[in-house]
């Protein structure tokens, strides 16, 4: 028998609607990391089955990517300061840290473009170059999306009262996405740059 008790008897507005965006985003990111997983598996397969890896003439350079790694990893801390600021209701502080993160993200992308221009070989050179450009390119695309999310947060934070200590899910989501991009990069950097030195 299905009955309504008086406590449930006041329409939808009083019904509890939890904000499900964060678990939704996490689920999506688990799924997306599997796509990178597919690329990583492909890369590792070629690495195992090719004698000289990377083939001669397509070695990676290390300086710019290492600087890039430092920038991206530290930006993950910077963006977290932004979240800590908004939890203390400090919108200006949040904006400052998010702007710094955006600049760092843009520097990372510029560094990647610079690396592409100076490497001396293109995507079609050999299987290593194929993997290199696909993996870093897809990651770069994700950094770009993360950058757009941060800029979106900054734009929305212009509206008075849009974010506050109790209302900052959008900020949190941009941060989670940024951490995701960072984690993927750490795996990618290990595979593409560190492991090719051995």
């Amino acid at each position: 028998m299905t009955v309504a008790t008086p406590s449930e008897h006041h329409g939808h507005d009083a019904e509890h609607h939890p904000d499900l965006r964060v678990p939704g985003l996490l689920t999506f990111l688990i799924s997306e990391s599997l796509m990178f997983g597919g690329f990583f598996a492909t890369y590792l397969f070629f690495r195992q089955t090719t004698d000289v890896w990377p083939p001669e003439g397509t070695e990676v350079e290390l300086l710019v990517p290492t600087i890039n790694t430092i920038i991206l990893v530290s930006s993950s801390f910077v963006i977290h300061f932004g979240e800590m600021a908004i939890k203390k209701n400090n919108v200006a502080g949040m904006q400052w840290w998010y702007k710094v993160t955006a600049v760092m993200g843009a520097m990372f992308l510029l560094g990647q473009v610079y690396e592409y221009l100076t490497l001396g070989y293109g995507m079609t050179a050999n299987v290593f170059a194929n993997c290199f450009y696909i993996m870093t390119g897809f990651h770069g695309l994700h950094v770009f999306v993360g950058l757009l999310l941060i800029l979106g947060v900054l734009k929305r934070s212009q509206r008075p009262g849009h974010y506050s200590a109790t209302k900052h899910t959008g900020i949190e989501m941009a941060e989670i996405y940024w951490h995701f991009v960072d984690i993927i990069w750490i795996v990618l950097f290990t595979l593409l740059y560190v492991l090719t030195q051995f």
Binding site: M1, T2, V3, A4, T5, E8, H9, H10, G11, H12, D13, A14, E15, H17, P18, D19, L20, R21, P23, G24, T27, F28, I30, S31, E32, S33, L34, M35, F36, G37, G38, F39, A41, T42, F45, F46, T49, T50, M123, T124, N126, V127, N130, C131, I134, F138, T169
Partner: protein, 559 residues
């Protein structure tokens, strides 16, 4: 997307007296609402079902053309390239645009929020986006015929896919990436809806088995679909941008594609059958008037299929130079999947045992499914063992097997679901006479078409060919006759749907006297499902325990 952005919410007002204003909403959607970017899960569910059915008709016409061609040993109706294009797109459309979207997208969207007592899915707009990715994907596939048609089979194995009709193949890849995205977005919606939005009164061990099945399906889709996307992106780059991932002469390797492909596409067979298992677990107890046998065993076996299903993909690659230890591992893991599947089959049979079976069309299709799926499952076990698989690889035995599973399993299940839930969706019952006609034509047609294929395969007829040795002619003729009967079977069904939708017998809220929550609202349900959210006070399958406790939660009672 916040909950407050949804149009369904009147301005937040905690005053209980004001809450009555929501009754000012229209009670029903108009017909044109179904052609818009509507965010109601019920509209989206029907959009999925109807679109998928249209694609089923298109894919079915392709199948009939293929069977007409195969009625004779020579290629005299379709030229071989066109035959390949039909064969490829038949498989692609049936899997990606008919079974998966109707079973998961259609029934899942329509039923999951109703079954867990929610007003909508967790992310309604995302849900609508997920649906609207499907029609363009289908159009891309049809468009590919202008460029020669994708011809490499639904697996698109390189190097074949790299040498046939490149534009058509690229369109094919884009179409699959679209439906894959749709599937990922839909799945994350289901996971969050089921985990987070069920009414508190509904305990986990009272969750309808269909929801368990959709949960397992969604997890599987979330984990496997992106891997296919990775593989397809690499294939797209090979086709168009000069990379050589899958070009052996330039250092690439075709077997990697097979791994990436089957890591998704083997789980895809569970994506097609797990929701159907869920439908079976709903239909059988209702029409047999018995509590389902082994609720927990059925729920956990869905989860087990989901987990083990991720570790069996290599059985599609036993003949791809797979080393012996892998064949061993994947033979064993493949055979293990038969265990949770068997658990379900036995649970359904045990539910039927001694039940007061009502032979409605829904029940007929469910029982038909049971018999045919056992057959398909057993031939699957034979092929899961590497030695036998090597023998029948790429023969019609394989075609016969997977059509028993996909047609005798999934399609029968979708039909059973439609006959069962049509009264809820439209407020009208389907005509039983037409339903039975539909069932018997389908049942005879399926067996006539696909049973001889096993024999053809054992005799060595290769699959994916437009011409064959004349010794196979007579069996192929039987298959073709069966295929035409299958084609005919759609006619009474379509008439039934169209006629019953407008003038069928009025069903009432709960024509089957079922106990799951979706039957506690009106038929068709109100726009926000319930005036007042229901409270579950008994299990979903407690038939016969307390005969007087039939669900009677009409708005009057609630009020």
């Amino acid at each position: 997307m916040t909950q407050t952005e949804l149009p369904r919410n009147t301005p937040p007002d905690k005053n209980p007296q004001v809450a009555v204003t929501h009754t000012a909403h229209p009670k029903k959607w108009k017909w044109y609402d179904y052609f818009t970017f509507n965010i109601d899960h019920k509209v989206i569910g029907i959009q999925y079902l109807v679109t998928a059915f249209l694609f089923y008709l298109i894919g079915g016409l392709m199948a009939i053309a293929i069977r007409a061609e195969l009625a004779t040993p020579d290629a005299d109706i379709l030229d071989p390239n066109l035959y390949n294009a039909f064969m490829t797109n038949h498989g692609t459309i049936m899997i990606f645009l008919w079974i998966v979207p109707s079973a998961i997208g259609g029934f899942g969207n329509y039923l999951v929020p109703l079954m867990v007592g929610a007003r909508d899915m967790a992310f309604p707009k995302l849900n609508a986006i997920a649906f609207w990715l499907n029609p363009p994907a289908g159009l891309l596939l049809l468009l590919s015929f202008l460029f020669g048609g994708s011809q490499s089979g639904w697996t698109a194995y390189p190097p074949l896919s790299l040498v046939t009709a490149p534009v058509a193949q690229s369109l094919w890849i884009l179409a699959i990436v679209l439906v894959g995205t749709s599937s990922i977005l839909g799945s994350l919606n289901f996971v969050i809806t089921i985990l987070m939005m069920k009414v508190p009164s509904l305990k986990w061990d009272q969750l309808p088995l269909f929801c368990w099945a959709i949960l397992a399906t969604s997890v599987l889709a979330l984990l496997s679909t992106p891997v296919l996307a990775a593989g397809l992106v690499l294939l797209l780059f090979d086709l168009n941008f000069g990379t050589s991932f899958f070009k052996p002469d330039a250092g690439g390797n075709v077997v990697i594609y097979q791994h990436l492909f089957w890591f998704y596409s083997h789980p895809a067979v569970y994506l097609m059958i797990l929701p159907i298992f869920g439908i079976m677990s709903e239909v059988i107890p209702v029409h047999a008037r018995k509590p389902i046998f082994g609720y927990k065993a059925i729920a956990y076996s869905s989860v087990a299929i989901c987990v083990v299903g991720l570790f069996v993909w290599v059985h599609h690659m036993f003949t791809s130079g797979t080393p012996g230890w892998m064949r061993m591992f994947f033979t064993i893991s493949t055979l293990i999947v038969a265990v949770p599947t068997g658990v379900k089959i036995f649970a359904w049979v045990a539910t039927l045992w001694g039940g007061k079976i009502r032979f409605t069309s829904a029940m007929l299709f469910a029982i038909g499914l049971l018999s045919m799926f056992v057959m398909g499952g057993l031939s699957g076990v034979t092929m899961g063992t590497a030695p036998f698989d090597v023998h029948v690889h790429d023969t019609y035995y394989v075609v016969g097997h997977f059509h028993y599973v996909l047609f005798g399993g999934s399609v029968f299940g979708i039909y059973a679901g439609i006959y069962h839930w049509f009264p809820k969706m439209t407020g009208h019952k389907l005509n039983e006479f037409l339903g039975r006609t539909h069932f018997f034509l389908t049942f005879i047609g399926t067996n006539l078409t696909f049973l001889p294929m096993h024999e053809l395969g054992l005799q060595g007829m290769p699959r994916r060919v437009a011409m064959y040795d004349p010794q196979f002619t007579s069996l192929n003729e039987i298959c073709t006759i069966g295929a035409f009967i299958l084609g005919l079977s759609v006619i009474p069904f379509t008439i039934n749907i169209l006629w019953s939708w407008s003038r069928g017998e009025v069903a009432g809220d709960n024509p089957w006297r079922a106990l799951t929550l979706e039957w506690t609202t009106s038929s068709p349900p109100l726009i926000e499902n319930w005036e007042v959210l229901p409270v579950a006070t008994h299990g979903p399958y407690d038939y016969g325990h307390s005969p007087e406790a039939q669900p009677t939660a009409t708005p009057e009672v609630s009020a």
